[in-house]
Subunit: 249 residues, 2 copies
Amino acid sequence: MKDYPLSVEQLLTLKTRSGRQALGCFLVEGEKAVEEALESDCEVRRIYVTDTYIAKKGKLATDIPCTILGERQMHRLSSVATPPEIMGLVTLKEATFADLLNNRFIVCLDGVADPGNLGTIMRTTDWFGFSGLLLSEQGVDPFNEKVVRSTMGSFFRVKPYVSKNLLQDLKALKEKGFTLVVADASGGTSQLVQDRPVCLVLGSESHGVQPAVKDLADEIFSIPGKGQAESLNVAISAAIALYEYATGE
Amino acid sequence: MKDYPLSVEQLLTLKTRSGRQALGCFLVEGEKAVEEALESDCEVRRIYVTDTYIAKKGKLATDIPCTILGERQMHRLSSVATPPEIMGLVTLKEATFADLLNNRFIVCLDGVADPGNLGTIMRTTDWFGFSGLLLSEQGVDPFNEKVVRSTMGSFFRVKPYVSKNLLQDLKALKEKGFTLVVADASGGTSQLVQDRPVCLVLGSESHGVQPAVKDLADEIFSIPGKGQAESLNVAISAAIALYEYATGE
């Protein structure tokens, strides 16, 4: 572990995936996200607040070390136009393949690139009471600040596992008894029943699921469309599949 | 109607709602959006292209007047980091209350503020073959360029009607035989059947549906959640409701 506290210059490197991986931590912005982090099983290493925050809310009731930052510094660190008055520095902790096996429903994203889509998928997954998430390395980093923000607090309850070899991991899930369902507009069933563990694969916004993954599919999940739209947004497809599985009998 | 062609300075005013309303038109960016506009029943007044576009694709096979713009000008007009090589100037045309009555399913958004959410809802509505959209004045302008972009081509097939008096219009829809269904996480049915015309109301990202609208509800639509997430994204809720209605019997 690196020495703490980090300088603002070091914290600024957390805006990139490589920076987060080098320092082994990421920043969460705003009171709600910090609270969610504190309530989770993640390690919050340090809290950053402004004087304004302390003046309004008083000292923080926590043993976690706290650093006061100026508003200009918060602005530099923040990813939003109106910077928060509080941020938390949280240890990066990805789930493992073994963690995935504790789920009966796993959402697998093969290259989803948009942070808002990933965050929304995590929020929806949490809504339906699931937590398994398998990501390919080609997609957006789940610790991207826009992902965290768009989960609206669900971030710490969904456990992303980033696979270095997606095909191998999907084969291993099949061997463990998971039915591999691939979402594809080309036609298939829109039924997803709860009688067996399922890994649902959704592809990237621009290319869909890669052919080698599609070849592994036990079933194709397809949402019947009647209009002229070419496709659905990936977070929408994921939500309808989650809803089907959660409410199907 | 104003004199054409518009100057670049005038086109820049189209970045705001008031500017679009003053000039009665809006810009669509990129080849796909321009093609969709040309195929629709909307009036495309002028096309803007770069020299690069003409060099690659040749002259446009259309009678619509065309202006060549420099890349720097395109960059100023565009809402994205990589500006398009082609844009279209399209006449603003909102649907009317009477148009709404041609639908059996109407999505009503009471103050939805995020352009990505509105665009995604339009795309999903189109996917399921519906086109009725009732918006309150407090929400994002449907002709916002981010809305158009996130519809992924569905923009010209869904007809937004922006109500100046939402309560009055909802009452009028009820009188015309529509069942008013309000989406709310507080509990209700998740069944939406096709045996009658439905107007589904979804609230803003931060405040939900306003109480006066909720008081008009014939039914509450609620998506059963089992996790700890506080709510679903509004575009996700809309999609699940559309799916339920489109596939329910």
